[in-house]
Symmetry: none
Subunit: 121 residues, 4 copies
């Protein structure tokens, strides 16, 4: 796993995002055991506390469940994962459309613009 961080946002947030993405994509399947805090921290080259901050957020989001002594696992509740994935996709599109609308793109023009960008990518 390639960890890369920018300094415009807290590292723990970026960790949360990247781990969340792995869960949403199924790279960490539901129920799978997650590596320990110390191990992940070593991999990512951050302080264990920082990694733990990220894991706590992951738990708060309901994507990971922690048993006090036996490490954490990805949630078994697939609906939570799917809901998170859908929410992320919808948020991205909504933000995009919001900006385009601000710039004067009507619905049809916005769609055409997206299509165009998609093609000569």
């Amino acid at each position: 796993m390639e960890w890369s961080f920018t300094d415009d946002r807290p590292i723990w947030q970026q960790i949360v995002e990247q781990l969340t993405l792995k869960i949403l994509k199924g790279e960490y399947p539901p129920g799978e055991r997650l590596p320990g805090v110390r191990e992940l921290a070593a991999q990512a080259g951050v302080n264990p506390n920082t990694m733990q901050r990220a894991m706590a957020q992951l738990e708060a989001d309901g994507l990971a469940v922690g048993s006090r002594t036996a490490g954490r696992t990805v949630t078994n509740d697939v609906s939570v994962i799917e809901a998170a994935a859908r929410a992320r996709a919808k948020a991205a599109v909504a933000e995009c459309l919001r900006v385009l609308e601000e710039l004067g793109y009507s619905g049809e023009k916005a769609l055409a613009f997206v299509k165009e960008e998609l093609n000569h990518e």
Copy 2:
């Protein structure tokens, strides 16, 4: 003008965004004189220092030009404004497509999803 800020990002950045938008949309036409920092700060209910920082950014972006004596004006270079508008639109779409691709949406599926979101908005 309705100024509203969230506290998840620096206020000066949000000011920059909103002022930039007004320029891109032509509400502040090229060459037009911008209100003074103190006046704008009073309107927005922020510290003049904060507004000052936003204006400095606007100058750095090339959208505003400042003469030490006569206040600031919107740039006369229309190409700069158009380029900025295009860049903002492309960035928004690119970010959106990036997220969708991360989540496993192929090009066609992404477009379909955007269309769908656009419809039941």
Copy 3:
């Protein structure tokens, strides 16, 4: 017997509570032989060490007596059991009243509130 644990508190404490309850209610009558640690541990799906710790606490509370050769039995001293039951009840009520008082419930109001909660349960 249905064993269920939450991970907000040590498992051995929860075992102690549930076993204690069985003794107080008479499900394990005074003088009765308790199942062996290994057997109980298997039932509850926990490590024998954990169950062992719970039993030690039960002994410390005076509710179980252990003879090195013949396993453990529930105490024959009924007064100990009755005292424990009374203490548990009083502690529960005292804690409840403490919280209610903290929140501004006077004696009468507290009682009325308890009555109300009891009814629409």
Copy 4:
């Protein structure tokens, strides 16, 4: 303010509880500015990080709102405060009744017991 902690639970949780109680009781009225993290930490004799952990929880509970630069204030949403107070009271009573029921107290007997305890307090 008298801060006293026990070592059976995390200090930050105890801080959260005590601050929450002050808010629920109105000692910190809605909208009131809370002392800074460093100041509170000094008062309580704990590390600023520990105090911040507590404040973050208070924010997550919706009882405090934080503006990135101007300190925290008690929420203005009185309904949140009232809901929290009611929830705390109901939880306390429910726990009490649960224990009493486990011990064999029927509804009426439980109420009578509470009344008795309340009197010779």
